[in-house]
């Protein structure tokens, strides 16, 4: 997605225009779309090089590389859209490794007929998210598929980050006795998406939590707490993430239901639809496993950051060769929090 060749004629009609096949054809129309829409929004020195790839300076450490495709439906939802989601999703995947996110790439798959005005909104939101995160989009690609062969727009992003020396966060490092700390309320994103899907005719003041977590994570690393593992519980929710860590580390977990924050409107929506918030997606939350003696200071550091204000210790890792995640319910009983079965909701992110 470079600075592109010169083109003649009128500027893009962003207000009324639509994506057509020529926008992915490699010719002047594509160059114009890239120049007037993408390059203008994402403007940075690497993108301005205008070559097939971005030439980047040596990052000075071990690299983390992550990639994430975004197919969310609807494209615009309360609290965000596919554009900012595509930035946050990949920034978070890099950040939960403990790395400082440096650069992103973005691939757009556009459907013929998609309004340029919507595309411009999405790109603007993506550029704003990238600016706020301080992680520029340094390379990109655009493809167009025929009408009915896509669903408006899909965005795949990849991110590169650099690791501080010596740090190792990994899902296989949880040990019995470790504490589990959650950065805030769960299920906001999943229920926000659900509340605006037309066939549910469900209306609630629920806003997606989509956010870039690397600032919070930097504060957590600075706290000096002995972190074993960080994960952002996206698709499949907190339950799925904890089961993944339990399986990787060969441990069990015991959660305290009363300690897990769920906003009242989100809880009500879950109740209404018969969904369990533990399995609903988040896009701006993380769960940390840390040495139990450091949990207090980690929690304090998290609560000082706007994205960790509602952080809470939600349970502990324990020995269990069966690798079960269990939960003490508010009622005082015990249940399992098993892997998600099937698909709770398609196209959540």
């Amino acid at each position: 997605m470079g600075a592109a060749k010169p083109s003649t004629g009128r500027p893009l009609d962003i207000k009324r225009g639509r994506v057509d096949l020529s926008h992915g054809g490699g010719g002047r129309a594509m160059a114009q779309l890239i120049r007037e829409l993408f390059a203008a929004a994402f403007a940075n020195e690497y993108l301005a090089q205008g070559n097939d790839g971005a030439l980047l300076p040596p990052p000075g450490g071990r690299l983390v590389l992550a990639t994430d495709a975004h197919v969310v439906s609807p494209l615009f939802f309360p609290g965000g859209d596919i554009g900012c989601l595509a930035v946050h999703g990949t920034v978070n995947d890099v950040a939960v490794m403990g790395a400082k996110p440096l650069w992103l790439t973005a691939s757009f798959i556009l459907e013929e007929g998609f309004p340029l005005a919507d595309l411009a909104r999405i790109v603007a939101s993506m550029a704003e998210a990238s600016r706020q995160a301080g992680v520029p989009v340094v390379a990109g690609d655009t493809k167009v598929v025929e009408r009915n062969k896509g669903d408006g727009v899909f965005i795949a992003t990849a991110g590169v980050g650099v690791m501080p020396g010596g740090l190792l966060l990994s899902g296989d490092r949880a040990r019995p006795g470790d504490a589990m700390v959650l950065s805030g309320s769960i299920a906001d994103h999943g229920m926000a998406i659900l509340s605006c899907r037309e066939h549910l005719s469900f209306d609630a003041p629920i806003v997606s939590d989509t956010a870039a977590l690397h600032g919070l994570i930097a504060a957590m690393l600075d706290s000096g707490a002995a972190l074993r593992c960080l994960r952002d519980p996206t698709r499949g929710g907190l339950a799925t993430t904890l089961n993944e860590i339990a399986a990787q580390s060969g441990v069990g977990m015991l959660l305290e239901e009363a300690a897990i924050p769920v906003k009242p409107a989100v809880a009500a929506a879950c109740e209404f639809l018969g969904l369990d918030p533990l399995y609903a997606a988040n896009e701006g939350k993380l769960v940390a496993i840390c040495a139990s003696e450091d949990a207090g200071r980690l929690l304090q550091a998290m609560r000082c950051h706007p994205l960790g204000r509602d952080a809470a210790i939600i349970g502990a890792v324990r020995q269990d060769p069966r690798r079960f995640v269990q939960m003490k319910t508010r009622l005082g009983g015990m249940r399992m929090v098993d892997w998600l079965t099937g698909e709770q909701l398609p196209r959540i992110c």
Binding site: H199, L200, A258, P264, A267, A268, E271, L273, D276, R322, F324, Q326, K328, T329, R330, L331, G332, G333, M334, R335, M336, D338, T341, G342
Partner: protein, 374 residues
């Protein structure tokens, strides 16, 4: 959350649990059947079992709509979707139940059939309005709770003369299944029922009165919240201890003796009794299910497409039938948790979270192995 948290309160649960411990005599076992899958789900999801004395055993009943539907009926829906090019809608869990050859509606969808998950029959009606060129069939399942909405949809379709909407009706009746449980050969080894919550809001408490009278079994109607279930268990214990057998209503905030007459009138208007109907686990039961009345035949998918269900045997190793009758527990089935899991269910009870096997697998199996290894 107001009006919900009150019924999930830990302190109240401890009080009721203490009363249950006091009431349960140490010299005997109590076996109560929660009829509804909604109760089964609540018991597991909130961990109620762990708050009960071991001598109070909960037997999971057949009140799970997708569990009791026999394979032959699901085959009808799959056939319609795959071979007749209809737009077939049903509730989410129904799509995953394996039918003949292990096929499900979800697999039919992957093979190109137009199968849609809907949250309500009104959504199916909406699809019919939006797709006048397609035949839209609503695969209607459920007990008396989901029946009145289906009746409303049929009446709306009739009023709008929606010629492309029909219902493949599988609505079944709760009291018929309770009779079947109690009149099993050798009798049912249960001491009483936790009676349905939502079903009872529709039919009222009166239809359960034959069970104490004719079989000597108490029925306590309870809401779907965990404290409702615990309170109902306490009331059942007291009835058994005192040698009483009555219908008691714990769910007074929603259930009256005669139920929702308007809903009953809707059902009466649209549906009539089938002479008999096959249930998974319970066999063919007379007067246990509904079909559309002849005056609404135009909206009856069975009439429109000339369908007839054929009985199909369950998977040989599957114990769903015995589990639905309350004779076996999920963990007694040889394939529970091995060949049959929620991701790859063999039997219907492993599909819905209201099914005894799925609920036990997803929420409760930690206790089996703890018991086994203790």
């Amino acid at each position: 959350m107001k009006y919900v948290d009150e019924f999930r309160d830990g302190a109240l649960a401890r009080t009721i649990a203490a009363n249950i411990f006091r009431a349960a005599r140490p010299d005997r076992e109590y076996r109560f059947m929660e009829f509804c899958g909604g109760h089964t789900h609540a018991i597991f999801r909130y961990g109620v079992t762990g708050l009960l004395p071991v001598r109070v055993r909960m037997i999971h009943g057949p009140g799970c709509p997708v569990c009791v539907l026999p394979i032959g009926r699901i085959d009808l829906a799959i056939g319609l979707a795959l071979e007749r090019d209809v737009l077939l809608c049903s509730y989410g869990d129904m799509l995953r139940v394996p039918a003949s050859g292990g096929r499900s509606l979800l697999q039919a969808k992957a093979r190109g059939a137009d199968v849609r998950m809907v949250y309500s029959v009104a959504d199916a009606l909406g699809l019919a309005r939006r797709h006048p060129d397609r035949q839209v069939v609503f695969f209607a399942i459920g007990f008396e709770t989901t029946t009145p909405p289906t009746a409303v949809a049929v009446l709306q379709a009739a009023a709008e003369q929606l010629g492309n909407f029909s219902v493949l009706c599988n609505h079944v009746l709760t009291p018929a299944a309770m009779h079947a449980i109690l009149s099993q050969p050798g009798g049912a080894a249960i001491d009483g029922f936790v009676g349905p919550a939502h079903v009872s809001t529709v039919i009222g408490s009166a239809p359960y009165e034959p069970f104490p009278r004719d079989y000597g079994k108490p029925v306590v109607i309870a809401g779907f919240e965990p404290l409702d279930v615990m309170q109902a268990i306490l009331l059942l214990l007291r009835q058994v201890n005192e040698g009483r057998a009555e219908v008691e209503n714990e769910f007074v905030r929603a259930v009256t003796r005669h139920g929702n007459r308007k809903a009953q009138a809707l059902m009466e208007n649209v549906f009539e009794l089938r002479p008999d109907f096959e249930w998974r686990g319970l066999g063919t039961l007379p007067n246990s299910a509904l079909r559309l009345r002849p005056r609404y035949a135009a909206f009856d998918a069975e009439a429109r497409f000339g369908l007839e269900a054929r009985p199909v045997a369950d998977h040989k190793a599957c114990e769903c039938a015995a589990i639905l009758r309350g004779v076996k527990r999920p963990q007694d089935c040889k394939i529970f948790g091995s060949a049959c899991t929620p991701d790859n269910p063999v039997g219907s009870c492993m599909v819905s979270s209201e099914g005894a096997c799925a609920a036990h697998y997803s929420y409760g199996r930690f206790a089996d192995r703890e018991a086994a290894t203790a």
